[in-house]
């Protein structure tokens, strides 16, 4: 047993191919049991999140999810930002430029609307829960944008580490919810073409959430949603500690 664990730990990436393959296979079986009403990839994503919770609880760290356990450490390579971004770029192969141009204006507007909307929602909730000083409210609002914008903004405006942790939590909740909910609301919001996918990417912004959510809905939408989503975090980091911080300050005093 000890030998097997050692082999797995030493060859982490290869191990993760095996683990994820098994997860995909089980998800496919479960999907069949629902008569394919729930897509296999949607189930796989939910299983992944459950595993992340279990792993994070066992390791006691939370961060790193299942990858925090040494034998599963290879998952951090397979699911890390390097391979994720490499794969996202590869999905653009075969995407049509004409479709992207058609959604151009709406896509750009969606980025601004998305950042401001999430920020305002976050700030309002923060105030309702008693975090009514400008710095804390701004940081939590920025966290509702994405879990990267939250800490970046918090550091810039000088928020306490407790508030920064809350802002990260809000961002993680958002990203996970996007992963799970997208396939279920796809029909209602008209997520069946390149244009709405780009708008959706711009509104949600969380690259991981958008990527997983669209993959579970229709993988052909992924390149369009991911394209706008990758501009979102940058825009959030630009707007939250500056324009939006001053706007919040003007209102809260």
């Amino acid at each position: 047993m000890e030998m097997i664990i050692k082999i797995f730990t030493k060859n982490g990436l290869v191990m993760s191919f095996m683990v994820i393959g098994i997860v995909m296979y089980v998800s496919g079986l479960l999907s069949k049991m629902t008569n394919k009403r729930i897509a296999g990839s949607a189930i796989a994503i939910i299983i992944g999140l459950v595993l992340a919770y279990i792993g994070g609880t066992i390791s006691g760290k939370g961060a790193g999810g299942l990858g925090a356990i040494p034998i599963f450490s290879g998952l951090a390579v397979m699911g890390g930002s390097m391979l994720r971004d490499y794969c996202i770029v590869s999905t653009a192969f075969g995407a049509r430029l004409s479709e992207i141009k058609k959604a151009g204006a709406a896509g750009i507007i969606s980025l601004f609307v998305g950042v401001i909307l999430s920020f305002v929602v976050g700030v309002v909730i923060a105030i309702l829960f008693g975090y009514n000083d400008t710095v804390s409210a701004t940081t939590i609002g920025a966290g509702a944008v994405t879990f990267i914008v939250g800490p970046v903004t918090g550091a810039a405006v000088g928020a306490s580490s407790e508030v920064i942790a809350l802002s990260i939590a809000a961002g993680v909740v958002k990203s996970i919810l996007v992963m799970i909910m997208t396939p279920f609301v796809a029909k209602a919001v008209g997520l069946n073409n390149a244009k709405t996918a780009m708008i959706y990417g711009g509104l949600m912004g969380t690259t991981s959430g958008t990527a997983a959510g669209l993959a579970a809905t229709d993988p052909r939408l992924v390149p369009y949603g991911a394209l706008t989503a990758t501009f979102y975090t940058g825009l959030g980091c630009l707007m939250c500690p500056s324009v939006l911080y001053f706007a919040t300050k003007a209102i809260l005093g």
């Binding site: 999140l49 994070g56 507007i109 966290g143 942790a165 958002k174 244009k195 959706y200 630009l238």
Partner: protein, 133 residues
């Protein structure tokens, strides 16, 4: 050779990341601005040009397509390393902020869809492509 496809992909990846970092620096933000998106646009433009000139061999295309096929498994691996514990234990405020931000954004998809010409729905997936996915 399949590796040529990967090389093209890597080139776009790095060029995009570099431009994104540069953009972040110019804008004075501590983050990459749209690096992956720029890389995607580069890949679309370059591969389109190479394909029309017949310079991208079948094998090279397969190299790129392999990674697009690996996309969902990689995303599943990504979900398995998320900090779900912190999301769940962030308390009602963090959860509510996240939930409402998502709900509000979903509502706006339809609103913004009215801007510009309407998009054309993707054709239904036939069995063959379904297998490939």
């Amino acid at each position: 050779m399949a590796i040529y496809g990967l090389t093209l992909l890597s080139f776009c990846f790095f060029a995009g990341t570099y431009i994104g970092d540069l953009l972040g620096k110019v804008l004075g933000v501590n983050s990459n601005v749209g690096g992956v998106g720029i890389a995607m646009l580069l890949l679309i433009l370059i591969s389109d040009k190479l394909m029309t000139e017949n310079k991208l061999s079948k094998a090279a295309q397969q190299g790129v397509l392999f990674w697009s096929a690996m996309y969902i498994p990689v995303v599943v691996a990504m979900t398995a390393i998320q900090n779900v514990v912190s999301a769940v234990s962030g308390g009602p405020m963090a959860i509510l902020a996240g939930v409402l931000a998502v709900a509000a954004s979903f509502v706006f998809v339809k609103v913004l869809d009215k801007i510009g010409e309407p998009g054309t729905p993707l054709p239904p997936v036939d069995e063959k492509t379904k297998e490939a996915l």
